[in-house]
Every structure is written in structure tokens, then in C-alpha cells.
Symmetry: C4
Subunit: 232 residues, 4 copies
Amino acid sequence: MKAMQTRKLAAEALGTALLLAVVVGSGVMGETLAAGNVAIALLANALATAGGLYVLITLFGPISGAHFNPAVTLAAWLSGEKGAGETAAYVVAQGAGAVAGVWAAHAMFDLPLLQFSQHVRSGGAQWWSEGVATFGLLLTIGLGVRHARERVAALVACYILAAYWFTASTSFANPAVTLARALTDTFAGIRPADVGGFVLAQLAGALAGWAAVRWLLAGGQQEQGLAEVQRP
Amino acid sequence: MKAMQTRKLAAEALGTALLLAVVVGSGVMGETLAAGNVAIALLANALATAGGLYVLITLFGPISGAHFNPAVTLAAWLSGEKGAGETAAYVVAQGAGAVAGVWAAHAMFDLPLLQFSQHVRSGGAQWWSEGVATFGLLLTIGLGVRHARERVAALVACYILAAYWFTASTSFANPAVTLARALTDTFAGIRPADVGGFVLAQLAGALAGWAAVRWLLAGGQQEQGLAEVQRP
Amino acid sequence: MKAMQTRKLAAEALGTALLLAVVVGSGVMGETLAAGNVAIALLANALATAGGLYVLITLFGPISGAHFNPAVTLAAWLSGEKGAGETAAYVVAQGAGAVAGVWAAHAMFDLPLLQFSQHVRSGGAQWWSEGVATFGLLLTIGLGVRHARERVAALVACYILAAYWFTASTSFANPAVTLARALTDTFAGIRPADVGGFVLAQLAGALAGWAAVRWLLAGGQQEQGLAEVQRP
Amino acid sequence: MKAMQTRKLAAEALGTALLLAVVVGSGVMGETLAAGNVAIALLANALATAGGLYVLITLFGPISGAHFNPAVTLAAWLSGEKGAGETAAYVVAQGAGAVAGVWAAHAMFDLPLLQFSQHVRSGGAQWWSEGVATFGLLLTIGLGVRHARERVAALVACYILAAYWFTASTSFANPAVTLARALTDTFAGIRPADVGGFVLAQLAGALAGWAAVRWLLAGGQQEQGLAEVQRP
């Protein structure tokens, strides 16, 4: 029904907004307090993001699936579990929420709301990093939903904690997050000109991860798509 | 019955006392050992607080609901799940416990028991931070109770771990905690003059969070208030 | 039967040995790598200890109850759940295991096996810290067994993670651990002359915690002692 | 059937590759960002590895058992749960995956793919460390499967988090990982000449751990081997 659909989109927007507030806010806090020690800033950033993801996926999963990520929603569409209309609406809600979350973080730290990052993130190693990061994320969600449905929130949180550190790009792994992080000239930022390369790499990695899940789960067990993956 | 009521209030007081001992004690320890590196002090403070919250909510939830927070108790009253009398008694027990916990921490670190903080925490960005922090806390508790009742302790712990970092105020998000932290001139302190602004922002955020939960859960599922939220 | 009893004592000894290897070994590693930053050393020490406790209590709980701590075993005796003979055997196994664990750690770090600590840990604030720490530990175990039996390992781990930071003594909270830590002149050490004060404070705190648990659980629910508390 | 066998080997190879990408990648990131503070680098390395292990064991456990470790596979063969052929195939898949994972990490950080470590790791204390580390790992898996099957992923993750810190060798505890880490001249590396000593110590520790599990579980409960230990 209509009201339910509104709630799903609101959940995607609010959840993505809070996710970005966590990512950007903890980045600012870490950079400020760590006084030049980037490792400690990233440690705080990673722990805060993981904690936030665990909470947000658990809270919003039963409402909207807690995608918060166009790459995940597109995989659901690819699997035929979401129609084109709902897919588009999800992506718009995620993008709008992400931008609002960045601005909420700026307001908390008394920074100008509208900013553009000058942080260069480009080149083959960065793109390969984003591809691997998103491949792993789709694997985590796809196999996690099948093998440990009630732990998907914990799995995604732990995966991102690791991925902040094992990839050279600190694992954006999410087109909506990438776009919104172009709008903050702080720790978590990415130069607007570099968004395109990141998003393409993420989509390629997501597609590979989606295909790997399908192959690994083929036969022996009942087929299941990626959509609604984070529903408990 | 009478004895049961006494135990509930004792649980609220003891739990809030231990929570404050953890918050203030780990702040002192962190500040002392980190020797000027505030990021490491806050990391220790945040991990200790999260660990403590997970334990205390799990232990006392089945006895008193483990509110430890007047903003949560007021939401329960607003939902009609607690009468005015019990609400008032809870808030008094939380406040008294919080102050006792601060003093217990001072005794552990050989500091004067009675102190007043000189730490300025004021201004719009700080209040917005507290509003967002308490909004998120109520969302975590309200949706958590509905969607993952047995994980509320873990959810609140992870939320606060993130909120220590993503808000500019380090997320007090609790009027009793705020009041008691005015009584310590250490890492976790807040100037007594700044308590009022924090508490108002927290109550506004709590109200917004409570309303968001009601709207998100309306229809489709049976209505449920915020009271007793942390009961397993 | 006899063989079962041998296995229980072996489990207590082996578990306590591994616990001490973790506590002392991670202390040496932390102190060595952190190069003077004590906060980072304690952070590593605390995370390693928490991780180790979670594992060891889960593994050995179903065999021996995973006490690893004379204060816990004495509480079980006080509750009438263990006879004097088994209590004594447990305490001896814990003490012997603890010492062996310290020596295993020394061998891993190429240090002289037999050492005596010169680390002064004494005075009222330290004793109050140990009393609070052990009070909280008994509360965690006693209420945890009643309210969340299958999570006691996680509860104890999170409690100790917090207690390393919120007490001025870094929370030994265990007479066997205290004794064994007198035998290492490294990060985790305690001067042999200071062991007595710590142990007395721990026993007083344990007694208070045991009494608090009994009172909080009295009425309404079936009485249950502290013994075997960590059995799943 | 044939296809199932291919999937199991692919799961072992892919899981081990991702594990090595996490271990090596987070080591490079930590070393780069920590700017000489080795403790912070190891903290990041340990948290990333633990997070990664929790995810990978949960995802691949139901497919291949998620050994990712020849010492574990050999214990399964010793228990008669895997034939010589499958054991050999598993070990080859693990080794190949491990090497691929190292190269994937090098590509992410724009480093030459083919490298040899110059990091000396040798001597009795290091070998004793590896023996203890692998003993503990087999204990964790063997007792964990029996006593808390659904938590084996969390147990292994927490064990390795602790073992990175409490052993002097940072706990390789895995012959395939050791071999592959000879191929990276970064934080996680080991000189090729030192691989043999590490592997021998690991196999000795694994054998001792396997025997300890058998003895501790003998009688009272139905015998169960180590193979398939990580299947939920």
C-alpha cells in the first residue's frame, strides 16, 4: 500500500542520512582530536562506522531492507526482486538522505553546510580497491543472507571495519555514499571529479560479487536473490 | 508489590551509578595515560562505555528495564506505560545513582569527591549534536525493542560507541548523566552552567525520536510504547 | 567420576594458564611496541584480554564452569554448590595454571622465566578500585547467569574491557591472577608485597557483589547460586 | 558430486585469498598511516583481521567448512573425516588462494606484485610462540565446535585478535598464510628462509591442540573429530 511504500523510502533516506552523519562526523572528530596521527583517526572512523552500520541495519532492515546503497538495490533489481520504479525511488531516497546526513554532520561541527572536497582519490590502485571492496560487500550480503540471515548486520559491520583498513581507498563501496562524500572537504571527502571513477569501479565490483554469490549458491540449495537481503 | 518496586529503583540507581563510574573513571584513566593525545583517550572512553552499557543493560533490563536515563523514562511516561509517580521515582533514582557513581570514580582515582567541571560545552553546534544524539538513541531503543528485542543491549552499546565520535558533543544524550558529569572536573566533565542547554536539547531530540518511532511503526504491526523497552 | 573430576581441574588449570598468557603476553607486546605510550599499550592489553576471556569461558564453561578465579569459586562454595574439597582443588588448579601461564608468556618473549615484579600497586584508592572491580564482576556473573546465561562469556569479556579502564588498578579482580602477576616484572606486574592488599580487597568486593546479587534476585524468581555460573 | 567439490575448493581458495588480502592490506595501511607507531599499526591489523575472519568463516563455513588453514585440514584428515585426496586438494586451494590474496593486496596499494620479505622471524621464542598460537587455535576450533557451534566464527576471530598480541610472533598459526606472507616485503612479511621453522612449530602446536581436544572431550560426550569444524 501507499503508506507502507512511503515508510520504506523514509527508512532508506533516514538510515542513509544517519550513516553519512556517522561516517563524516566521526571523520571530523578523529582528524581534529588525533592531531596529525591519521591511523588513530581512521581507527575511530572505522569503529564508529561499524557500530553505526550494525545499529542502522538492525533497526531499518525489517522496514526497507536497509540497503542504504544503490549498488545493493541495483543487485536486487537485477535479481528481479525490485521493479524499475521502486529501484529508482530507493536510489533517489538514498542519495537525498546521504546529502542530508553530510549537512547534519557539518552542522554538528559548526562547519559550512555546502562544501566540495579537494581530496584526490584516483588511479588504478584506488579503482581496484573499490572494486574489491564492493565485490566483498556483495559477497558478505549475498552469502550472509543465505547462511546467517539474523547476523547480516553484524557481518556488514565487521566487513566494513576490515575494509576501511585492507583497501587503499578505505572502502567507500557505495555510490550514494561516494556522491555525498564529495560534498565535504573533511577527512572523509573525495574530489567531485573522482566520483565517477569510484562509482564505476563499485558497480563493476558489485556485479562480480553478485555473480560469484549466484555461482557459489547454485545447486544444492534453493535459489534466492539479493533483494531484501538485510531483512531478518 | 512494594519489595519489587524497591528492587526496580535500586537497580536503576545501581546501574546508573556503575554507568557513571565507567564514563568518568575511563575518562580519567584515558586522559592520564594518553598524555595529551585526546583521540586515544576518547577511544578508550568510548570502548569502555560501550562495554559497560552492554553489560549493565543486559544485567538490569529484566529487573527495572535498564533505562538509566530520564529521557527514556519520560518517553515511557509519554506512552502511558509508566505513571507519573513511578516516572518521578525512576528519575530521582537515576539522578542519585549518577552522582554516587561519579563519586565512586573519584575515590578510585584518589581525587577530591566534590568537584565542579570547568569544561565549556555550549552553543548551537553542541546543542544540535545533543539533539541528534538523543534522537538516535530513542530511535535505537524504540525500533530495537520492536525488531530485535534480545539485542537492545548490543544496539545501545554500539550506538553510543559511534555517537561518542560522530557528534561534536561526544553524545551525553542523557539528562542524569549530564547533571552528574557537571560534578567532575575531569575528561568527561561539563560546566554546571551548560547543563541546562544540554538537557533541553536532549529532551527535544528524545521527543523527535519518540515521534519518529511511532510514525515508522504505525500500521502493519501492533503498536508498542517505549516503556520497558530494554526488557528482554 | 574420577576421570571427569580430573578433566574439570585440567580445564581450570589450562584455562587459567591461557588467560595469564594472554594478560602478560599482550602486556609485554603492548609495552614494547607502544614505545612509551601507555594508553595504547593498555588498549591492546584490554582488547586482547577481553577477546581471550570470551573464547576461554565459552570453551571451558561446559567442562569446569570456567571460573579461572578463586573469588568466583569461593562464592560457589558460599552458596553451597561446591564442597570444601572441590573448592580447594579448584583454587589450587587455578593458582598452578596461572603461574604456568606467566612462564609460558615469558618463554614466548624470550624473558627469564622466574621474575618478581617491582610495580608498586598499593593504597586506599587502589584497594577501593579492586573492591569495585570484583563487586562488578560478581554482579556480572551472578545476574548474567540468571538473565542471559548464553551470553555470560560476552558479558565477562565486555565487563573486563571496561574495568581495565574505569578502575585505577586496571582491575585484576582475581586472586589467582594477582598472585601470578607478582611473578612478572613486565607491564602487568604487581609487587609481591602488594598482593595481600589486592586479594583482601577483591574478596571484600566479591562478598558484596554476591550479597547484592542475592538481594536483587530474591523473590519473584527461583533462587540460584553462583556456582557453575558460566555453564551454558 | 563433482560440481559441489569444485565449489568447496573455490570457497577455500576465495576465502583464503580474501583473508590474506585483509592481513597484508591492513598491515600496509597501518604501517603507512601510523608513521612509525607499530602498536597502532598492529592494533588496526588485528582488528581488521578479526573482523575479516568473522565474516569469511560465517560466509564460507556452510560451503567448505571454512578451514583456510592446512593445519586445520590436516587435523580433519587425522580424524579420518577427510580422505587424503580431498585433504591435498584443500591444501593446494588454500595455498593458491593465499598467494593470490597477497597479490590482490599489492595491487590495491600500487606495490610490485612479486616480492620477497626480508623480515627475520626466527629462534626458539618465535617457534614457541607459533606452537602456542596454533595449539590455542585448534583448541578454539575443536572445543568451540562441540560447545558453541554457531559461534565458531566469533570465537576464531576473538582468539586471533588476542593472539596477535599475546604471542611474540603475532600468531601466524597457519602454514598457507605463512607461505604467502613470505611473498610480501611489508608489515606482515616473513623471510622465506624462516617459513620452515614457523610451519614446523605450527604443525607441532596443532597436533598438541588436537590431542588436548580429544582428551578433554573423551568420555561423557559423543566423540567428534575436528573436520568440518566450522560448519554451522
